[in-house]
């Protein structure tokens, strides 16, 4: 299935792009993250990353659907 992936802050800089549309067999947000970590050196190994699906914060075990927009957030640091 096809999903849209968006990268933020340190992730965007590591990957070198803001977003990409990919064909994946990942069933969960976590699996998709692992897949993207494999595709892009510099991404991943961020122990406290967060994920959102379609502009809602999500669990790594959330299942994905066709055309979902998946947002990968490096460790946040507000305040």
């Amino acid at each position: 299935m096809k999903v849209r992936v968006r990268y933020f802050a340190a992730f965007r800089e590591a990957v070198g792009m803001e977003a990409e549309t990919i064909e994946t067999s990942a069933e969960t947000a976590g699996e998709l993250f692992s897949e993207c970590t494999g595709r892009h050196t510099g991404l991943g190994n961020f122990p406290s990353s967060l994920v959102a699906v379609n502009d809602e914060m999500a669990a790594w075990e959330s299942s994905l659907n066709e055309n979902d927009e998946v947002l990968f957030f490096p460790p946040v640091a507000g305040g």
Binding site: A9, A10, G30, A59, P74, P75, G79
Partner: protein
């Protein structure tokens, strides 16, 4: 009037506090996050916040609703900066008013703790050396 806001310009603290005033309240607690001039031994000249605003606002308002429900305070608001900031500007302000002080302290602490852990906001520090780096939060949620 939204309880949680993102702003690209300096926060007007007088106007902010005005929104929390309530004659039924005997206690007001305000937290401000300031831009520090150092971090882990390096001199910081200024910093930049990247905010993913659609989700930050949604989640920020959720945190404030949680705090009001959980601690029973009367009013709670917060504003977070985005973009470039200079030293000792307020990056974030949280205000809570309530009849008594215990719950105002607890709710204010809850809001800033949750905001730092949950909001899609990232801080990039610019050092005296000319380097710049994204700051990693120590208290973020762990992936599965």
């Amino acid at each position: 009037m939204k309880s949680f806001e993102i702003t690209g310009t300096a926060i007007d603290l007088g106007v902010f506090r005005q929104r929390l005033l309530d004659h039924s309240c005997g206690a007001y607690v305000q937290f401000e996050g300031w831009v520090r001039d150092h971090n882990e031994g390096r001199k910081v000249l200024r910093l930049e916040y990247e905010v993913y605003e659609p989700l930050a606002v949604k989640e920020g308002n959720r945190i404030i609703d949680e705090a009001i429900a959980r601690f029973g305070v009367t009013r709670a608001c917060a504003i977070h900066r985005s973009g470039l900031m200079e030293l000792s500007e307020a990056a974030v302000v949280v205000g809570v008013s309530s009849p008594h002080r215990g719950e105002a302290f607890d709710a204010c602490r809850y809001i800033i703790d949750q905001a730092k852990a949950r909001l899609p906001i990232w801080k990039k520090e610019y050092y005296e050396s000319g380097m710049a780096e994204w700051v990693n939060c120590q208290r973020c949620a762990h992936p599965a």
